[in-house]
Symmetry: C2
Subunit: 432 residues, 2 copies
């Protein structure tokens, strides 16, 4: 694991190299995905079935065979251990309760001249959620993607989850039952994104597609963006821990592992003003790593993209964090609320020694779909607001239109848009 | 202008054909834009200067020559007629006041176990606004793009506006002064988007790029999406008017013109349950059209994409509108508030006979950057919320972590993410 010191002359350069992530605009992937989208748009179910057979090794004569019935979802929920069922339900309840706070309401007001102005807020009609399948089955992602849509009032949630070779996780299906997903299709990849974006004979077209996926899924989402909404373009997962040197170093080591175990490209960075503490964490890493189930992935991730960084003080650590705009930021310090005002950019902020990132991943309440690769500078966590949209409201009074019409007329004529001008001016002539 | 009747057996088909708009995924444009982006990313100012010379016929030795000084902006504001200056300032004041209502505040609460949960809301640091230049100079777009960012608290607004052959509109520069834009560069096209996204020696990299542009600009925005935020992918402008047949038909004809005069692809549709009224509007169109400055564009637009549609009643008209999710929806009826609850999807809703769309384009207050091509199903008007982002907050109490840790542990083990599980479990062991 790299060791950096902010006082080193090449620090900025080394940090930049370490955290660099060029999100792949891979020409070959782009072309492959474009062909899949086009095939599904033109040939619907038939194309989806072909790609599913070829890429997921899952044969089906009709799309109906690839739909998972509501009874099947309920059966999965009944089949999993009661402890898992209860954990899913408790997590769902907490996620639902947190997201209720994000609900936005329509608003309107009247200005001094009696014009009504406002915004009407409505839920999207139908959304698609993409859930990775196979070995990396994440029931928590089902909850995190579906529940904000439910809270927003989305009428219909369509879930797609690939089932390579027919393999399907009961826990994922149980999560779909708990979250109230309306329909589930066992399809994946760019073909699933295409089916949701364009609709097929069997899969209904949706208004927005959310959820994580591999490079083909991400590329497909980017290509259909505009025809449907998408949530964001996700890169590798990251954690940045700022510690004052007084948290149990084993906890911090394990927090770094919990990020690194996702995949080799995941990034785990610790910033601390105490060099001895960094040594202690390194010792914990060395001691605990061999005990980890996913030791190989963790080792590769920490070696390639991890770092222990010595900072001058905590304020400097926060400044570096702002520059990196991390997906997950842990403030493992005595008084995290004192540091919070300094934090400008982060997907989620875990405050205090007890708040491990993993609590946020599963059940604290906030969403675990978060902006990566410095995009917390402009993206927000997935939320209820992603499933609501706004319509502006304008209702001018007969009095109000007199002054507004004059302003509009001047500006429209300044832009040489005379139909705009005359449309406003005509309303000034109602005395004629 | 086409005349449709919802009772015709081929109505759905004809309406679909009329409103179809495949947003161009033009391979050639994609490739050209990718080359421009890559050149600017690698060679910065030098590449921007080359493309500006070649595409905008504007020669400059350095990027500094292409920056418009604050003094120049103020001079433009002083140079325009006082009536225009006042109209700009009045419009700005109304737009600012409306957008204040969109400001979102950070929030937090504590759950029953004392865990703090919430979201911290902050402004973006720096944004870029793209303003079309040359003949189609729209000072109103400067206000509509810059003011929500100002209200959000964005620290720095960089505006780019092409000046083909050096041609630059005083009104556009004056609007930049009124809106409080921080820096202005006279560059445009994909090279301007690239400069904003990647930054150059002279142009600072921004966090989000908003504003309308041609197919090259739109394609460039799509390609940099993820590295920076963008607002939306805009198609041709549209209006859908629902009228009960009692509005002055000249007003309605002019409202249709005001959309059609934008360009040949613009779309203007009138829905009305009164066939005689449709005849009257057609007569007004025929009479007024020759008097319009932009008659050729209007004629082409109405011929290719306009329609007068006879509906069974107003409710059916709203149902059709929901299907089309128009950018601009006029409810030119006696009681627009009675229809409003039926409206599901629209960028902006203009209510009542006096509320011409053009008032909203310039000065009513709401934004005129609106979702097109049915994307009001999932996109919202540009707003303050586009210039704010959220960070989730989680601070667990020592008590709270006991129950949360157990849930997280069960779910993490269900996902085979044991570092996640152990990171939560370790916090349960603080008695050791």
């Amino acid at each position: 694991m790299q060791r950096l010191d902010t006082r080193d002359s090449d620090f900025a350069q080394r940090l930049a190299r370490l955290t660099e992530w060029e999100q792949g605009l891979d020409e070959a992937v782009n072309t492959t995905v474009a062909a899949i989208l086009s095939a599904v748009q033109q040939r619907g179910d038939a194309a989806v079935l072909e790609y599913t057979a070829r890429l997921d090794h899952l044969q089906a004569a009709t799309m109906a065979e690839l739909e998972v019935s509501a009874a099947h979802l309920e059966a999965a929920l009944a089949a999993i251990p009661v402890q898992q069922r209860e954990a899913l339900e408790q997590a769902a309840e907490r996620i639902r309760s947190y997201h209720q706070h994000q609900l936005q309401e329509s608003w309107e007001y009247r200005d001094a001249e009696g014009n009504l102005l406002g915004q009407k807020i409505t839920a999207l009609d139908r959304v698609g959620i993409y859930v990775p399948g196979g070995k990396a089955s994440y029931p928590s992602s089902v909850l995190m993607n579906a529940l904000p849509a439910k809270v927003a009032g989305v009428a219909e949630i369509i879930m797609v989850v690939p089932a390579p070779g027919g393999e399907l996780s009961d826990l994922v299906l149980a999560a779909a039952a708990v979250a109230g997903v309306d329909r589930v299709f066992t399809i994946g990849g760019a073909q699933a994104v295409a089916a949701l974006a364009f609709g097929t004979e069997t899969v209904p077209a949706v208004d927005k597609i959310v959820g994580p996926g591999n490079i083909y899924v991400a590329t497909a989402k980017r290509q259909v963006f505009g025809r449907v909404g998408i949530d964001m373009i996700a890169g590798p997962s990251e954690i940045l821990v700022i510690c004052d040197g007084a948290t149990n170093p084993e906890w911090i080591a394990m927090d770094l592992f919990s990020q690194a175990e996702h995949d080799e490209n995941a990034q785990a960075i610790l910033l601390c003003p105490d060099a001895d503490y960094l040594d202690e964490v390194q010792a914990c890493i060395d001691r605990l790593l061999p005990t980890m189930e996913r030791a190989d992935i963790i080792r590769a991730s920490l070696a390639a993209r991890g770092a222990l960084v010595l900072t001058r003080d905590l304020a400097e650590a926060v400044a570096i964090s702002n520059q990196l705009a991390p997906e997950h930021l842990e403030l493992s310090v005595l008084d995290p609320e004192a540091l919070l005002p300094l934090v400008r950019h982060a997907g989620a902020i875990f405050m205090g020694r007890f708040t491990s990132e993993s609590l946020g991943d599963y059940c604290a309440g906030p969403n675990h779909v978060l902006p990566t690769s410095r995009s917390a500078r402009f993206f927000s966590p997935l939320g209820v607001y992603d499933f609501q949209k706004r319509s502006s409201l304008i209702m001018c009074s007969e009095q109000g239109v007199q002054s507004l019409g004059r302003i509009a007329s001047v500006l429209a004529r300044g832009e040489q848009l005379t139909a705009h001008a005359r449309s406003a001016e005509m309303r000034l002539q109602q005395d004629d």
